[in-house]
């Protein structure tokens, strides 16, 4: 519940403060957001599965975000930044979908 409130508060703050993203971070922010969304869905699924662990969730959240950003950074250095971004987004998207499917089965039993 607090997590949902935190999410809403973050969105409102982002809209109200209107910060400018530093140029160096611009390629990584969207990937980090997608990775964080993946971690959120994964946490929810784990909770519904009864295997949720706060520590695991926090660590996996931070690691997912960092690894996604690192991959994109590496891709940029190798000259395949755009492709790497696409690859990461595709993989995370697949994970989000499968997590969402599990959650859906739990919630709607279908």
């Amino acid at each position: 519940m607090f997590a949902v409130i935190g999410l809403v508060v973050g969105v409102v703050a982002g809209i109200l403060i209107e910060p400018t993203v530093p140029t160096g971070l611009q390629p990584y922010l969207p990937i980090a957001v997608v990775a964080a969304l993946d971690a959120l869905f994964g946490g929810l699924r784990a909770y519904l599965d009864g295997v949720f662990d706060e520590r695991v969730f926090v660590v996996s959240f931070v690691f997912n975000v960092l690894i996604a950003a690192l991959l994109v950074f590496l891709g940029d250095q190798l000259g395949v930044g755009a492709q790497m971004t696409t690859a990461v987004v595709v993989v995370l998207g697949i994970r989000i979908f499968s997590n969402a499917a599990s959650i859906r089965r739990h919630v709607f039993k279908a």
Binding site: G6, G10, G14, A36, L48, V58, D76, A82, H106
Partner: protein, 256 residues
């Protein structure tokens, strides 16, 4: 770590326990430092989400990669170059067309000039200029056409540019004939006294007519009198009408 009655029924079906856990998630009130951290992380995600969405909406170029931007600039440069070349080509075409117009005007002027010259030579334009006047007194009509043809030839040889005899313009196609009491010029009867008017160098014309055994001499031999007057200004107002050539057409020239 949480003990709820439903957990005992887990083997019966996961769905019930999941629903219970979902209810717990909403209702739970036991904040630990990990929960605070999770809330903070969620807030960060929401914040980043909002920022990124706004960023992506307001500026398409800011979120693009460096190589994408470079490619975009390359494309823009190439397009710019193409348009510049097209502009240069069009400008050149415009210049060509303008100079074409001016050369067309020059050609028209030349054609008008040519038409004036041809008009004078063909006798379709009234002309004026220095020249001579020959008065031939021939009360008894002794002068015959051949005599006047001699006069005409002499005037032409001396460079007369326009010739008139008794108000009849003499051109290349004019002819002279003899009749009783006068002459015929191109089908028109004329009678004495005859008046020739010729435009050209007065001195040259007068000298040419006056040579011994020449035109004036033959007139006098025929029994008439002729006097030549050199004039600063002779007006020849009579014109001939040109007939459109029926058979002859200009031969095509080799050079355009």
């Amino acid at each position: 770590m949480r003990t709820v009655p439903e957990q005992d029924q887990r083997p019966a079906g996961e769905g019930t326990s999941a629903a219970t856990r979902l209810r717990q998630l909403v209702l739970r009130r036991q904040p630990t430092w990990v929960h605070v951290l999770i809330v903070l992380l969620c807030a960060a995600v929401g914040f980043a989400l909002a920022v990124q969405v706004r960023q992506a909406q307001e500026d398409t170029y800011a979120t693009m990669r460096q190589d994408d931007l470079v490619r975009l600039i390359d494309e823009l440069g190439a397009r710019n170059r193409e348009l510049t070349e097209e502009g240069v080509a069009l400008r050149r075409e415009l210049d060509d067309l303008e100079s074409g117009t001016s050369s067309l005007e020059a050609a028209r002027e030349a054609a008008e000039q040519q038409a004036r010259v041809q008009g004078i030579l063909a006798g379709v334009l009234p002309v004026t200029g220095p020249g001579i006047e020959i008065r031939v007194q021939d009360p008894t009509a002794q002068v015959t056409a051949p005599t006047f043809v001699t006069v005409l030839e002499e005037l032409r040889n001396a460079g007369a540019e326009a010739i008139e005899l008794n108000g009849q313009r003499i051109t290349a196609s004019s002819w002279l004939g003899t009749r009783t009491g006068g002459l015929v010029v191109s089908g028109v009867d004329i009678e004495p006294p005859y008046v020739w008017r010729a435009i050209g160098d007065p001195q040259t014309l007068a000298v040419a007519l006056d040579i011994p055994g020449g035109a004036l001499a033959s007139i006098r031999t025929a029994g008439a009198t002729a006097e030549v007057e050199q004039l600063e200004r002779v007006e020849i107002t009579s014109v001939r009408e040109l007939r459109q050539p029926q058979w002859a057409t200009p031969a095509p020239t080799d050079e355009g």
